[in-house]
């Protein structure tokens, strides 16, 4: 709103051309409504200085600069419009040493890290071996009570058989030395099947399969090297059956053989384990350790004397070690 108090500022803004069209119209209307202020308004308008266009810079050409190559495209257009020829690239000029510019993958530098690789490989192998041992240990220790009992019996009878082989050998020492590859001539009567069955049945009431496992003859290449046998039954089998009979018939501990004592102790341990009940699982760490030790024992379980030549030898895996 223009008043007599602020009109001077609006006049100055009008002179400086800083007002909008509406504001300019309001100023002109205010001046028309107040003719006494028109002279002052016109005097301010006269103070505007018009540019002197006749004044020109005298040496303008000196300020101009020659155009560089960046305007070549525009110049080419001008030439094209004017019908003038312009330069074309000369494709005959080639760079003859392009081979020196090529790069191959062989030039790349490869930093060898032998120790790092070896360390990674060792870590991977160790991890695989640990997993294998743990899995095999868990497989050898199934959670069912009957199977657990079977494995414990199997584990504990195997060394008993090996130790029980000594008296069997003692029995055959007095006999003529059998020739290798022939059947034994020792007049050892085969144990009656009912006795073995009796021993088996006494335990078969609880774990029949476990007992059968204990009397399985050794398999593999050990089978033909066994000279001491009764018919088709190996001596170790008959010895194991005798041991079982000894255990079942209740021979006093001090009068029994070392193998019988070992079997008695193991059966006592089995009885303690069975007393735990089927619902009470064994300690995990203990079962794992048992799995590992069982594996080791199986390897050395094949160490039953294979002294076909009368020499005491122990078979460890695939190697025969002489005990003499």
């Amino acid at each position: 709103m223009i008043t007599r108090d602020n009109y001077e500022e609006f006049f100055l803004l009008y002179t400086d051309n800083e007002l909008s069209a509406v504001e300019r119209h309001e100023v002109e209307k205010f001046v028309a409504d107040h003719p006494d202020l028109r002279e002052e308004w016109e005097s301010l308008l006269q103070c505007r200085i018009s540019p002197e266009t006749h004044l020109a810079f005298p040496d303008r050409e000196a300020l101009l600069k020659p155009e560089s190559e960046d305007s070549a495209y525009a110049r080419s257009l001008v030439y094209y419009v004017d019908g003038l020829p312009f330069l074309h690239p000369d494709t005959g000029v080639v760079f003859s040493q392009k081979d020196s510019l090529y790069r191959t993958a062989k030039d790349r530098r490869v930093i060898p890290l032998p120790w790092l690789r070896a360390g990674i490989a060792a870590a991977v192998i160790g991890a695989i071996a640990l997993v294998f041992l743990l899995t095999t240990g868990s497989k050898l220790n199934p959670p069912s009570p009957s199977a657990k009992t079977q494995t414990t019996i199997d584990k504990k009878i195997t060394p008993a058989v090996t130790s029980a082989a000594a008296p069997a050998l003692h029995l055959t020492e007095g006999q003529p030395k059998p020739k290798p590859g022939r059947a034994a001539r020792t007049p050892i009567k085969p144990k009656p099947e009912p006795q073995q069955g009796l021993a088996v049945n006494n335990r078969a009431n609880e774990e029949p399969t476990a007992v059968r496992t204990t009397v399985d003859p050794p398999k593999g290449k050990d089978q033909p090297s066994s000279d001491v046998s009764v018919g088709n039954v190996p001596v170790t089998e008959s010895l194991a059956a005798n041991v079982h009979l000894a255990v079942q018939t209740g021979i006093p501990k001090d009068q029994s053989s070392f193998a019988t004592q070992a079997l008695q102790e193991e059966q006592a341990a089995d009885g303690r384990e069975n007393d735990l009940g089927p619902d009470e699982p064994a300690a995990p760490s203990r079962t794992k350790l048992r799995g590992i030790f069982r594996k080791v024992k199986r390897v050395f379980g094949k160490t039953a004397e294979r002294d076909s030549d009368g020499n005491r030898q122990v078979l460890v895996g695939a190697f025969e070690v002489s005990l003499d």
Partner: protein
């Protein structure tokens, strides 16, 4: 800014800058030196100057060089009579226009520059502030004071006549 754009600036703005500087310095040689120096600086910095802002760039450089030139003149204490003689005037000047030239010469260099930038080039308050380094309100106040001085000078002369 390309070379072509620079040459376009020469063709478009050399006269404007020259007039502005000549009206302030009132000596043709000094005005030419200032204009040449301003364009030389634009040529050197053409890579970083936008072509759309080249006019403001030129006026800013020329204004500050002009201020430096005026400060040198103040130190030398040139006589105003000598300055009046050096004004380039080869055409008959209208009496009112001559009176305005005299009134403009009586302003200080800041007020004169503001009036010339406003009336010659039509810059806004904000643009004048960017060229001269003043705020928009300062430009407005200084310019209004200059207008009132010019008006008072014209009115006083009319009263005398």
């Amino acid at each position: 800014m390309t070379d072509r754009e620079y040459n376009d600036c020469v063709n478009l703005y050399a006269d404007n800058v020259y007039r502005f500087i000549l009206k302030n310095l009132r000596r043709e040689d000094d005005a030419k030196d200032v204009v040449q120096s301003a364009f030389e600086k634009l040529w050197k910095n053409r890579g970083s100057v936008d072509a759309l802002k080249s006019k403001s760039y030129l006026f800013t450089i020329a204004y500050h060089q002009m201020i430096d030139q005026l400060r040198k003149e103040k130190r030398v204490e040139l006589k105003s009579a000598f300055r009046e003689e050096t004004i380039v005037s080869d055409r008959p000047i209208h009496p009112l226009k001559k009176t305005l030239e005299t009134a403009l010469a009586r302003l200080n260099e800041t007020q004169r520059s503001l009036v010339l930038l406003k009336d010659y080039e039509g810059y806004s308050y904000l643009e004048i502030g960017q060229i001269t380094g003043l705020t928009e309100s300062q430009v407005k106040v200084y310019l209004h004071r200059a207008r009132i001085q010019l008006k008072n000078y014209l009115v006083s002369l009319e009263n005398l006549i």
